[in-house]
């Protein structure tokens, strides 16, 4: 295989790491959002239980 053109090679490198960070950030954000929603639900349920 002859050497890759560095300009093309760097384009794919940037693309690869962009995909990596995008997926990771999306997953971390989903973890955070689910945690926040569950906390909110738990608080509401605790209040309902107190009032019962």
């Amino acid at each position: 295989m002859s050497g890759l053109d560095p300009a093309i090679s760097v384009k794919y490198l940037v693309g690869g790491y962009t995909v990596f960070f995008a997926v990771l950030v999306f997953y971390l954000a989903s973890l955070f959002a689910r945690w926040r929603n569950l906390k909110r639900n738990l608080q509401s349920l605790e209040e309902i239980k107190k009032n019962q």
Binding site: M1, Y12, G16, Y17, L31, L42
Partner: protein
């Protein structure tokens, strides 16, 4: 729900430092490969993500076995957490491999034994998540999950060894390389050091995320219990 324990906070910090270290090793320490040059630097994160993905699927199988023995819901939470995180990492590994393959193999995807088994592995565990959602009874859901992950884990060694068992264009980085592989390269000591650093860093990051995801699962279980108490 209890606040984050001190050891988890330390693990968060260690993970962040290791991640920065891995990026530093990849971009500042590892030398440029002569033929592929810049795009070869995808390799380090590609292999680390694939490793962590497979590790998590095996962790899920072990958690499944423990659940079947002990019938304790906490192992179902561990199993689900491991599968979910591994799915994310393995998806990244597949995507990075595809992006790396485009300039090297001149195609985004080919039905090569390694790529095919990796895609099947990802779909097996994606199906696990979808099928779980259809079962309401927690004990039945956990029993199903345990058996499914145990059987599903058989596809992990098949995927791992596919490049050693079949004729493939996917490079074998560690061990004897097949001459038919495209994209092989000689690993220099700095490249090897970077690869192993990334493997260690991602293993720690996996452990940290697993802990967080287990806590999320415990919180979800508490909410489910409270809902039942309120309804009664």
């Amino acid at each position: 729900m209890k606040p984050q324990p001190g050891s988890l906070k330390v693990l968060n910090l260690v993970s962040a430092l290791l991640f920065l270290g891995a990026l530093g090793m990849v971009f500042l320490y590892a030398p440029l490969e002569e033929t592929m040059n810049y795009v070869q630097k995808i390799f380090y994160f590609h292999i680390a993500n694939a490793w962590v993905g497979m590790l998590g699927f095996l962790v899920a199988a072990v958690a499944g076995i423990i659940y079947l023995v002990k019938r304790d819901q906490k192992w179902d939470i561990v199993e689900l957490a491991a599968v979910e995180i591994s799915l994310v990492f393995f998806l990244i590994a597949i995507a990075l491999g595809s992006i790396w393959a485009r300039p090297v193999w001149n195609t985004w995807w080919t039905w090569d034994p390694r790529l095919t088994t990796a895609a099947i592995l990802e779909m097996i565990y994606l199906a696990y998540l979808l099928l779980r959602q259809g079962i309401e009874d927690p004990d039945r859901r956990a029993r199903f999950g345990a058996v499914y992950t145990l059987v599903g884990s058989l596809s992990v060694p098949i995927t791992f060894f596919s490049i050693r068992l079949f004729r493939t264009i996917h490079p074998v980085v560690i061990g004897a390389a097949d001459n038919s592989a495209t994209g092989n390269f000689n690993m220099t000591p700095p490249m090897l050091a970077t690869m192993f650093f990334c493997l260690i860093a991602f293993s720690v990051i996996f452990a940290t995320l697993l802990w967080h995801r287990i806590r999320l699962g415990q919180l979800a279980q508490t909410v489910e219990e409270r809902q039942l108490e309120v309804v009664r």
